[in-house]
Amino acid sequence: MSWKVVIGLEVHSELSTNSKCFCSCKNKFGGEPNTNCCPVCTGMPGALPVLNQKAVEYAIRMGLAVGCKINQYSVFERKNYYYPDLPKAYQISQLEFPLCVGGGLEIEVDGKKKFINLDRIHLEEDAGKLIHDVSGTLVDYNRGGVPLIEIVSKPDISSAEEAVAYLEKLRSTLLYVGVSDCKMQEGSLRCDVNLSLHKEGEPFGTRTEMKNLNSFRAVLRAIKYEAKRQAEVLDKGGKIIQETRRWDDEEGKTYSMRTKEDSQDYRYFPDPDLIPIKITDEYINKIKADLPKLANERIEDYMNMGLSLKDAELLTNQRKISDYFDEIIKQFNQPKFVCNWICGEVFKKLNTETYEDANIELSAKQMANLLQLYHSGTINQAVARQLLDEIWGTDLIPENIVKEKGLAQISDEKGLEEILTKIVNENPKAVAELKAGNQKTMAFFIGQTMKATNGKANPKLVGEILNKIIKEC
């Protein structure tokens, strides 16, 4: 019997609140080291934490989006350990009474759907950053005290692909509810993997925890590597040691960091500086009412508009795209037409697999205007594409450019007939071929007409007129 992989993920996501979790310092990435901190987030003697209510709201928002139960009594605890990036020598976190418990989300791998249960979502503060320099190790506290939510899954994940699908769904949801920018490169989304092996019907095996997974690809590779490593150890009759392992992305291997024996006793206890959070039904309902529509609901809406499931999924992969689509069809209600254009031309422009830094440099208003011109036949496809290039990243209005440059397609039958008659007369050989039934020659004639009209001829009309002329001669 083969080994079954059991995976649980701990995802840390920085919340995009304006200020830090327990002080009024700005919550922003980067900056000159130690320029964005204060006595509270550098742990000066006497400084006290004051809870940022927005962080609580964001955590609850995410909790509600993934179906968690919101604990109406929630407590911050101190997780005590020493490290230079942790200025108070404890992290304010949650243990016994997290903000959100339960819930989960549905993933799909190879057409198979699966529900991954969550254990909890709790709120905590981020640590600073160590910088290793020639002069030694330095600490930057700019990130210290940034609010984080830790989303802990149950061990319901059974493959690397499922893990990635789960992460993608989680990221999409975080972006939908607008609580995090989810930039893995900047560390605003981080993931630790707990993995063990067992045989069907037997209890779970000893697990290892993997850290330093900085991309979804790293998660995928690390899981595959670690599952194989554990299987090899077990097959040889060895034992898995409960330990924390570091993923080395260049080597493509995991290395032991510390075993359970030297793991820390965090001596958690309720933080006496922070009073327990009491959350009313009214507050929860208010947050619930303000939740944006999530991907599933939007897919349903789009299919009701007549889009295919595949198209609806493409549009809803990212909230940014879906919002963009919604905005365009408010001004130009041709869902299928707009969808095709977004999934084709716009995606080509974004040209990135990592949607997280995708930047649509064209307003919905500009796009709606462009598509209207194209759809009504004022401009042809070639011109529409050319215009898209031209106005991308500007605030130019397509309509105005069409007028200024005279880009409207020529649908004047008489004029086109004159041009075509001329071309027909000059190319008797091609006419003969066309008459013989070689449809490819049609393209030649259209090309010639376009050349003569600077690409503005209405291709459909050109075809019709040409057929008429050929028949007549």
Binding site: M44, P45, G46, A47, L48, Y82, P84, D265, R267, I275
Partner: protein, 480 residues
């Protein structure tokens, strides 16, 4: 007439009348500090800034500008209270040269009320102790008799008021650290209700028990001080938004109908006979004037000390973990690696008592012991609090001795930690229950000439009752 012998409210009137200036008072205080240097009450002085502030206040007064309740009054801060650009050492070698980057809310409130901060007072290191013998910068001596301790941990603050170096001072009280030294030095010391005064900027010992309060020469002065200090602070989530009263107006000059709760647990055989007699005499002053006594029962306060040492040490171990040698304070010169840096810096920076509490605190929080100690202690804490709430259904205030004995001699208990800890048996339950309590002088021992203190305890946020009773006693004690 010696202004320094006066109460705060008296010099306040004279300042208002223009009979004396703040600059004169401030200079007198600095002269007195020099004369009484031997008691080692203060760790640092703010001479330049104090005289500058005093002059500014005098100018404003001359111009007829509106002034705060403490305009021109010289005051002292305990050295665990941040005051920007001054050293805040917590009487620890660890913070010997640490300069505050910000001002504590309580200090800022004094400043905003026009007070002149003249110095920072000695204390037991990080407020851990009952005698000020744990200071890294030498013991403070009791102004009544320099062979005796002034009590602690706010010994410097108490001694400073007692030796007329200032008109009021701030201390902090986690288990008796204001009331015990007040009792030993013969001054008035108030521990307000937990949450009444902001802790922001006060270096924490045990966050759930710490409370800032004033030392003064009389109850009325204490009321003036609390009126300035009290109130909700956006920088301290544990500060309370219960309405702040004008505490001076709570002094009615009358105790008719007052029900005084007397618990046998506060009058056990551990109590010195002489202390017992003096407290009884004090209670008689009140009952002769219309107050009555009622017996109450506080069966669990005997275990309050155990609860206290578990909870306070646990919080202290965590609160003091930030002193790691990375950002400020002592950093060991030679170390091999990160752990060695931590160990050596903390070993060099902390005194014995602080180390003892850190070890105790980490022990009770460690996995496998948490439920047996910390969780159980928190449960007992609730019971103790409940017993007080029950008792207050029968009485308006509770009176007890502040300490079982008068001040002891320097060195007398420094090797007997349990004896030292037992010193706080009457004060600790008050912190455990979060109640307000004051120690006021109620006589002097005939055996050693040292002051005796009476503790007046009120329900949560009822400091007004304390001021009224204390003030009444002060004004009527001579005519027994």
């Amino acid at each position: 007439m010696n202004y320094l012998d006066m109460n705060l409210w008296q010099v306040k009137e004279l300042l208002d009348k223009g009979e004396v200036t703040s600059e004169q008072l401030t200079s007198m205080c600095f002269e007195q500090i020099e004369k009484t240097k031997e008691i080692n009450a203060l760790l640092s002085l703010c001479k330049e800034s104090a005289l500058k502030t005093a002059k500014e206040i005098d100018e404003k007064r001359k111009k007829g500008e509106k002034l705060g309740a403490l305009a021109g009054i010289p005051v002292v801060l305990k050295d665990n209270i941040n005051y920007i650009n001054t050293k805040t050492t917590c009487a620890s070698k660890f913070l010997e040269n640490w300069v505050s980057p910000f001002t504590a809310t309580c200090a800022q409130k004094l400043i905003d009320a026009g007070a002149v901060i003249i110095g920072k007072a000695n204390m037991d290191e990080f407020a851990m102790g009952s005698s000020t013998e744990n200071s890294a910068f030498g013991v403070t001596k009791n102004p009544c008799n320099t062979a005796y301790v002034p009590g602690g941990s706010s010994g410097g603050s108490a001694a400073s008021v007692a030796s007329k170096q200032c008109f009021a001072s701030l201390g902090t009280d986690t288990g008796g650290s204001i009331r015990e030294p007040a009792s030993f030095c013969g001054v008035v010391g108030l521990k307000p209700t937990y949450g009444r005064v902001s802790r922001s900027g006060v270096v924490a010992f045990a966050s759930s028990l710490d409370q800032v309060g004033p030392f003064t020469r009389c109850a009325k002065d204490s009321a003036i001080m609390l009126s300035v200090l009290a109130g909700k602070d956006e920088l301290d989530m544990t500060s309370s938004s219960v309405e702040v009263k004008n505490y001076v107006q709570e002094i009615k000059g009358d105790v008719k109908g007052l029900k005084i709760g007397i618990a046998k647990q506060f009058f056990s055989d551990k109590l010195d006979d002489e202390v017992k007699t003096k407290i009884q005499n004090a209670i008689n002053v009140l009952t002769k004037n219309g107050a009555t006594t009622v017996e109450i029962d506080l069966p669990s306060i005997d275990v309050a000390l155990a609860v206290y040492y578990i909870v306070s040490s646990a919080e202290a171990a965590s609160n003091l973990a930030r002193f790691d040698g990375i950002r400020y304070g002592v950093r060991a010169k030679n170390y091999e690696d990160l752990v060695d840096l931590y160990v050596k810096s903390r070993t060099q920076g902390f005194g014995k008592e602080v180390k003892r509490r850190i070890m105790l605190g980490n022990y009770v929080l460690s996995s496998g012991y948490f439920d047996a100690f910390y969780r159980k202690a928190k449960k007992v804490q609730k019971i103790i609090k409940q017993e007080f709430l029950e008792a207050f259904k029968k009485c308006d205030i509770i009176i007890s001795p502040t300490t079982a004995t008068t001040a002891f001699k320097i060195g007398e208990k420094s090797d007997d930690h349990v004896a030292m800890y037992l010193n706080d048996i009457f004060t600790v339950p008050i912190n455990i229950a979060g109640l307000p309590a004051m120690s006021i002088p109620c006589g002097v021992s005939e055996k050693n000439g040292m002051p005796i203190g009476m503790q007046i305890i009120a329900p949560h946020f009822e400091e007004g009752r304390i001021f009224n009773v204390a003030d009444f006693y002060e004004n009527n004690k001579e005519v027994q």
